[in-house]
């Protein structure tokens, strides 16, 4: 079964773990007033303390390091595991870029199509990063979705129709931008 076949039943999930703490001073490392989104493939994962990182490789070959806000210990307690976002997953990831030219950022949300633990699932993460609260669409996602089954705390699955509703209501912001993985349709 290919991704194309799975899309008609594409699901969305929302993984939530709250954290504002960081091993480093957030403002010193990140441009808190900027937002960036990158589409690509997960090519490496380092699930570590004080922060975990996913390497996301874009189609034109640029490698990005995307940092989790919370500690790995906190993520693990919330049910996160290596299987939550496997190598090879096609994702659209959004967050706050680091100062300077290095391709480093801290993610606030991730949209992902399989292969995940539930391979026909789309994953969205809505984080409270830097103490600024969760994205404004966070509660709406929970209203429209159902708890997902991957063991991750506060994970919600939302249908493709619900995703369209969210796009209608919130526009193309972050992971709600018109993300359709290549080859999906």
């Amino acid at each position: 079964m290919t991704l194309k076949h799975l899309l008609p039943v594409t699901l969305t999930s929302l993984l939530v773990f709250s954290s504002t703490e960081a091993h480093h001073s957030a403002a010193a490392f990140f441009d808190l007033d900027a937002t960036i989104s990158v589409e690509g493939t997960v090519t490496a994962a380092k699930l570590l303390n004080p922060h975990s990182y996913y390497r996301v490789t874009t189609d034109d070959g640029v490698d990005w390091a995307w940092e989790s806000a919370g500690t790995w210990t906190a993520l693990a307690k919330a049910g996160w595991s290596e299987e939550a976002l496997p190598i090879g997953t096609r994702i659209l990831i959004s967050g706050t870029p680091a100062h300077g030219d290095k391709p480093i950022a801290r993610f606030t949300s991730i949209a992902a199509y399989g292969p995940t633990t539930d391979s026909n699932m789309m994953i969205l993460v809505g984080l409270d990063v830097f103490g600024r609260g969760r994205p404004d669409w966070f509660e709406r996602v929970r209203q429209l979705g159902v708890p997902c089954e991957n063991g991750v705390a506060d994970c919600t699955r939302v249908s493709k129709e619900a995703r369209q509703t969210l796009q209608d209501e919130f526009g193309s912001i972050g992971v709600w931008s018109a993300f359709e993985p290549k080859g999906s349709e």
Partner: protein, 234 residues
């Protein structure tokens, strides 16, 4: 009856001798695991510590703060925060272990242990200066008061010298749903007057526990030649 008689004798003796009468020796039970709730920052600083408005920080303190850079942030090398900086993070989760003569604080973040010694008034001679210093504690009614000295200098977030002393006050709110913390910092080297943090809140979280915290140096990612050296080496 005998107990009442003893209490009466004790009370009379206390009046005669002027010694304080301890009517209720019970102290609040604040043991347990907490997650942090509201974390107020000191001196009107914003959540990201971008400025120090309203702080009585002096020129030397500002100069010290200016030496703190992203590159020399000790956290990159898995060195835990100094106490003054730790107050701004309210590391979570936190476990409090309470005994008759000690109150022990265990923070999951960087696996930091602190002991407030209830059976001491001062630090022993030759106590070294450390990230979390030496703490003595006492109960004032329903409030645990923890006084800390012998801290290392800290330049990051809240600059504090090795002359810094801190006073923490922990107490339950009215319905015991929140453990409240007030902090005052005195540092004659870097500040013209003591200053206080706003009241912070810890939320009881009995289902949680303190997990082992294994840390990996992440300096390479931010300051190495290529981010892939970090992914390849770890």
């Amino acid at each position: 009856m005998a107990g009442k008689l003893h209490l009466l004798v004790f009370f009379m003796g206390s009046v005669i001798t002027g010694m304080p009468l301890i009517v209720d020796a019970q102290v609040p039970d604040i043991s347990g695991v907490y997650r942090s709730g509201r974390a107020n920052t000191p001196c009107g600083r914003d959540a990201n510590m971008r400025s120090i408005p309203n702080c009585p920080v002096n020129e030397l303190g500002l100069q010290t703060a200016a030496t703190a850079t992203a590159e020399n942030d000790p956290g990159l090398e898995c060195i835990a925060d100094g106490l003054s900086r730790q107050f701004t993070r309210l590391p979570r989760p936190m476990e409090i272990i309470q005994t008759d003569d000690k109150v022990i604080f265990h923070y999951e973040y960087f696996d930091v242990w602190r002991v407030a010694h209830l059976d001491r008034d001062t630090a022993p001679p030759q106590t070294p200066h450390t990230l979390t210093g030496f703490s003595v504690g006492r109960w004032e009614g329903d409030t645990l008061v923890v006084e800390t000295s012998h801290l290392l200098e800290n330049a990051h977030t809240i600059p504090t010298s090795d002359q810094t002393t801190t006073v923490e006050r922990y107490r339950w709110n009215a319905d015991r749903s929140l453990l409240l913390l007030d902090v005052e910092i005195t540092d004659p080297a870097y500040y013209d007057a003591p200053f206080r943090f706003g009241t912070a809140e810890f939320v009881p979280n009995p289902d949680d526990y303190i997990a082992q915290f294994v840390c990996t140096n992440q300096t390479d990612l931010f300051y190495g030649d290529d981010i892939n050296s970090f992914f390849d080496d770890n």
